[in-house]
Symmetry: C2
Subunit: 315 residues, 2 copies
């Protein structure tokens, strides 16, 4: 199977810059060109040597590329595709890394009706943004979901799968619709709730913001990590995966209401049963390598905290 | 000020065993006795040498102690106090580590009307339970809240403050009522939502549990850590801090409903404004040493993941 010779990355934030770094490390023979709409980001990317060339225009960046990866917020996909339409090589495969897939596929198809498009979504990230936040191992052991159209030629899908696997990811293929529902559960609604709870806490009159920060080790701080993620990216995800997010949110609201009722009526058994069931999920996530077993996320507790946490790894 | 000579720890789980370890390290001259209602826990505690003596009965453990710390779930406080009432020394200070304070104070007062009681709550923990999960540095840099009664003698409060400070904690004093509201925001409601969202995700028909686990790196896994916390302890917290939890939950529900509406109506500005505001809270938590700045909680991303994360520490 033909590998890609030249990858063009449009959008050089956390994900785009991680793709660049991972590609350089895993596939050093591949030419990497990049572009970002923000001049400051281009400057930083050039300074840190993120790609073989950081181009002033997206069109310039994609010229001659056989893989174009759009790493922009999902609300900017159509514009990004429009900016490269005239400069694409005949044999190019277009992909993206957007967090919603039905809307992105529709947006890209609208602008590039005849292109070979294989939408993708690497399920990985951190709470930091920008070209300096990326790192080569971000995708290692994580899953990348590809959502080709039903009538899609299998060859470009296979090439893109091989590319992501070279970067260390596991690849799964599903329909855009199923992707959007799965991600609503595993990512979008958790982010929305995290944003919401951090907002609620900072709006209280009786509890000061300083108290919320001081006593955040009681659990709150775990929510603040994902509530610090890139605002533009996440606004776009919610606006573009509306249906699935609203469906999952509705279910969650019902379940929270049930717990609220259990608390009000002193129904300890309902609480205990749920709290017992949820431990098993955590164990499976650790067993499958999707999280670390270190207690408290391996946070340092003074100078010997990590040593103490290390002893948890075996349980 | 007189330090404590002999600390009796009733309940040898994560917190009790961490108090034992921290005391032995910071105050090696203090005698430590311990008891747990569970024979298996007593056996483990004796085997790992958690205290100078692990006693068969709580009464035996508290005999001669000048500090008794009740480290049992808040629903078991009254029974624990009842089990030691006849064996307490005249000069003893009674404290606890429970996550709700109004109900615990009432429970302890009911059983020990004339004792010197200074309720406490170290805001620290991990998702692991049991005597082997504890470690000496758990409280270092974390806050411990003391909630003495208004008419309380200041001397025992000062001694208990000094004790917690010796264990590495910062101490804050507030009313039981205010504690319960602050913790409802910073700990109880976050835990309830985490439990709930993990439950909701595992109940879906269209998304399999295996998919939820696979793609948990999208954000979901951050919730599973605290949703793996001790079920008995947390059931009791919710049943005993009912009012404050229901109040905060009501506010959160309103705020989530507003976001739900913003998504339904495509109101990107409301989403963007909230998502921007919440980043500042995360920064403050890191600045005040209540969380680590390492990207993605410093999780390992392959062999160089931690090195990459380390570079985040300076931003």
């Amino acid at each position: 199977m033909m590998a890609f010779r030249h990858v063009a990355i449009i959008g050089l934030g956390l994900i785009g810059s991680s793709v660049a770094r991972a590609t350089r490390r895993a596939l050093p023979e591949v030419r990497i060109t990049g572009h970002d709409a923000d001049a400051g980001v281009r400057e930083t990317a050039a300074r840190i040597g993120l790609a073989d060339a950081i181009c002033e225009t997206a069109g310039e960046a994609v010229r001659g590329a056989d893989l174009v990866m759009l790493c922009v917020p999902v609300g900017a996909m159509a514009a990004a595709a429009g900016g490269i339409a005239d400069d694409l090589a005949a044999d190019v495969v277009i992909t993206d890394v957007g967090g919603s897939k039905e809307s992105v596929l529709a947006a890209l198809r609208g602008v590039l009706p005849d292109a070979v498009i294989v939408p993708g979504h690497p399920v990985a990230g951190t709470e930091y943004s920008g070209p300096e936040a990326g790192f080569a191992t971000l995708f290692r052991g994580r899953w990348c979901i590809l959502t080709p159209e039903e009538a899609s030629d299998p060859a470009p899908v296979a090439r893109l799968r091989a590319f992501w696997e070279a970067l260390g990811a596991n690849v799964e293929i599903m329909t855009p619709r199923h992707h959007d529902l799965v991600l609503a559960v595993t990512s979008h609604v958790p982010h929305l709730i995290a944003y919401s709870i951090v907002g609620t806490a900072s709006d209280l009159e009786e509890v000061t913001q300083s108290e919320v920060i001081k006593f955040s080790a009681g659990g709150f701080r775990d929510f603040t990590r994902i509530a610090a993620s890139d605002p533009t990216m996440w606004r776009d995800v919610f606006l573009n995966n509306r249906e699935a997010v609203l469906e999952i949110l509705q279910r969650l609201t019902e379940d929270v209401t049930m717990l609220q009722r259990a608390i009000r009526w002193g129904d300890g058994d309902t609480l205990f049963d749920l709290f017992t069931r949820t431990r098993a999920i955590r164990r499976s996530i650790i067993a499958q390598g999707q999280d670390d077993a270190a207690a408290d996320f391996g946070r340092s507790h003074g100078e010997t905290g990590n040593a103490a946490s290390d002893s948890m790894l075996t349980r």
